[in-house]
């Protein structure tokens, strides 16, 4: 190692506790990006050796072997072999193995050790292995493997200093050699792994009973399903119930900032841009940060606890009926937060047609960007009361129904696609079920922070830019006295043209205006309406004081509001989703198909909702 900061890669099986170890080594100092050319997430961070020298750490996707079964695993192989474009070969490897699962995890470890890079094995989750009645001999394991073995408990940060010291020592004493020939075939490798695991095991009592007891209920054919549905329901109720106070505070904060700017900056073009464009637009979206964080909190907890795989197990039967697999449940559930990571997560699906179908329906899962739109309209038009004295809120129930509509729509679309455009053999489904684990607040907090940051960065970039452009389009040309500025502006005229198309489904001028910028990001629909209404209100202080919801209440019929919600269930997705679909499917064919079918569905759903509502006298 000469001068340059050495790079150490963390590599191991899925469920080896690699991410916790990565978090424990790097803290929150992480950088999430992509490997160039592929959309596999690249997690990098920094740590320091005992003497203060820095090292770069990268967390490679979990893999079972150097023979990849998915694009994720291909990246792992290519990085450790030094074949990944734009990524230097790591200077050393930390191979993470689950102490309680040596039989299996040592297979991959043996393959990695044979590569000849300086290597240290982290014998991770040793506490859980001990809880399971397993007594291991790390020294014996090190002797068998021929590389240092460091016992670690990542979640308690135990063994971190020793691990780094071992890495430093390994880099000094084990020069990177030529790759040794890996074992002839995987069966031989497995035997070898099993022999070593036996040798390193001092005593063993039968498998974890606790997980078995929970699974007896959680995977019960009927109760398991009831529990899953209940969890989902609680999740969506919580999104509403808990987000209120912090959202109100954020809203008050934005209002205070607007008031401060109005009071302290002379009235100029720039002040209007800031108050009506930036603050009204970005503020309207940032207010939804609490709800998005609550949703992500649930998803992170479900993943960290090990429940997510059980959910996949329970859903597999249902998903198999429409030609998908339980594997698809995790990307689809992630799509509730955002379709972009959801579509990226489909790389874990080995079957190409299964994967394509999952990608195409991912945008039908109600992503968090739609939440601001739903939240605004529901708060304005659905009364805040219980349903039949049950303590279940009507607003939460409507939100749940909207989510459900997206899911049912997605299953129907998948059913059709798997019999037409994405026809193929029945998808397989093979997955490891991790044991249950108490989620660590630290890992969850880091995950939440990363999501919050991504959301705020979007608000500060894409959303800020589109709202400013929209504000400019709305503000020029200046309307002559007596005419509405919004109607007279460039944006107003474009919306006027679009209105012809959307009037039949009950959409008004406000909505037509919001639809175009919503393509950039769905939540811009809210900021667009906020900006237009702020301009509309002009210097009318009473109108300014009204919230956006109150203003819409006065202008929209209930039928229009419901049609607008129905539109957004199927809403043509944002630019980022189209871009990620193009990248993941290697071409324009599928993203264009996706946009087309979603537009049609959205138009039909909004139309049917509107006409039905009008027929019931809600127009």
């Amino acid at each position: 190692m000469t001068g340059a900061v050495p790079t150490v890669a963390l590599v191991g099986n899925p469920n080896a506790g690699k991410s916790s170890l990565f978090n424990a080594l790097t803290g929150a100092r992480q950088k999430i990006g992509n490997y160039p050319g592929v959309t596999v997430e690249r997690k990098a961070g920094h740590a320091v050796f005992a003497d203060g020298r820095p090292l770069a750490l990268i967390d490679l996707p979990g893999s079972y072997s150097l023979t990849p079964a998915s694009p994720d695993e291909a990246v792992t192989r290519d990085v450790v072999l030094g074949r990944q474009a734009g990524e230097a070969r790591p200077d050393a490897l930390i191979v993470v193995v689950d102490a309680a699962n040596l039989d299996n995890h040592l297979c991959f470890a043996l393959e990695l050790i044979a590569l000849g890079l300086p290597t240290v094995v982290a014998l991770n989750m040793l506490d859980l292995a001990e809880r399971d009645g397993l007594v291991l001999d790390p020294e014996r394991l090190a002797a068998e493997l021929g590389v240092p073995v460091v016992p670690t408990v990542a979640v308690r940060k135990r063994g971190m200093a020793e691990l780094l010291a071992a890495v430093e020592e390994a880099m000094r004493s084990q020069p990177a050699g030529a790759a040794a020939a890996p074992a002839a075939d995987d069966i031989a490798l497995h035997r070898c792994a099993r022999t070593i695991a036996r040798a390193a095991t001092l005593s063993e009592t039968p498998v974890r009973r606790w997980t078995a007891r929970v699974d007896a209920v959680a995977l019960h054919p009927v109760f398991g399903f009831v529990i899953l549905l209940a969890l989902m329901f609680v999740m969506f109720q919580a999104v509403y119930a808990w987000a209120g106070p912090p959202a109100d505070m954020l809203e008050a904060g934005v209002g205070a900032m607007q008031a401060w700017v109005v009071a302290n900056i002379p009235e100029t073009f720039l002040r209007d841009l800031v108050v009506e464009g930036l603050l009204a637009g970005v503020g309207a979206v940032v207010v939804f940060l609490p709800q998005i964080l609550i949703l992500f909190l649930f998803i992170l907890l479900l993943e960290a606890s090990g429940y997510m795989t059980r959910a996949a197990f329970l859903m597999d039967g249902l998903m198999a009926k429409v030609g998908l697999s339980g594997r698809g449940f995790i990307p689809l559930l992630s799509s509730f937060a955002c379709a972009v990571p959801g579509i990226m997560a489909t790389r874990a699906i080995p079957d190409a047609k299964d994967r394509l179908t999952t990608i195409l329906i991912a945008p039908l899962m109600t992503c968090s960007a739609r939440l601001p739109v739903y939240a605004l309209i529901i708060a304005a038009f659905i009364p805040d009361r219980g349903v039949g004295g049950t303590g279940i809120g009507l607003q939460g129930l409507v939100l749940f129904a909207l989510y459900l509509a997206g899911i049912v729509g997605a299953l129907a679309v998948a059913f059709v696609l798997r019999r037409t455009l994405a026809k193929g053999s029945a998808a397989g489904f093979m997955m490891e079920m991790p044991r249950y684990q108490m989620p660590r607040w630290r890992d969850v907090a880091i995950g939440l922070w990363q999501r919050a940051w991504i959301f705020l960065r979007r608000a500060g970039t894409i959303i800020a830019i589109t709202t400013v452009i929209l504000w400019l389009l709305l503000s020029f040309p200046k309307a002559p006295a007596g005419e509405s500025q919004v109607d007279y502006s460039v944006a107003g005229r474009i919306a006027g043209g679009l209105e012809v198309v959307v009037t039949p489904i009950g959409f008004n001028h406000d909505i037509a205006l919001a639809l175009i910028p919503a393509m950039a990001a769905r939540e811009v629909a809210v900021s667009a309406m906020a900006t237009a209404n702020a301009i509309d209100a002009g210097d009318d202080e009473e109108a300014m004081a009204e919230t956006l919801g109150e203003r819409l209440q006065g202008k929209w019929s209930l039928a229009t509001a419901l049609a607008f919600l129905a539109w957004f269930v199927f809403a043509p997705q944002c630019i980022s989703t189209i871009a990620i679909t193009r990248r993941e499917t290697n071409g324009w064919k599928w993203p264009l198909f996706m946009v087309g079918y979603l537009f049609l569905l959205a138009y039909a759903a909004a139309g049917i909702t509107y006409w039905t509502a009008v027929a019931f006298g809600l127009g």
């Binding site: 498998v207 795989t309 009926k321 093979m430």
Partner: protein, 92 residues
């Protein structure tokens, strides 16, 4: 006694006698082996399906729990574990 894993009763350990590898794709086969499913291994079927179907099947293989589809289990022939057992400890 030989039957397929697909129809083995839940909760009792069985030994894998034979796997019809050509009946599945090479990738599927490799993933099964990565899960420790190979001839001679002891497996315990734990949970089968949900409200909607008999698929999938959750198994205990050593200290690992894995999920496979009934279609794969159908080509895995298993035999009862004799009282003498093997060298391997019995999963609970």
């Amino acid at each position: 006694m030989i039957g397929s894993l697909d129809s083995a009763p839940l909760g009792a350990a069985v030994r894998i006698a034979r796997i019809d590898w050509p009946a599945m794709s090479p990738d599927e086969g490799r993933r099964l082996r990565e899960f420790g499913l190979m001839e001679g291994a002891l497996v315990t079927p734990l949970h089968r399906g949900s409200l909607f179907s008999r698929d999938p099947l959750a198994l205990a293989v050593g200290r690992m729990r894995v999920i496979i589809r009934a279609a794969q289990a159908a080509v895995i022939a298993v035999e009862a574990v004799d009282a003498a057992g093997g060298a391997e400890p019995k999963p609970a």
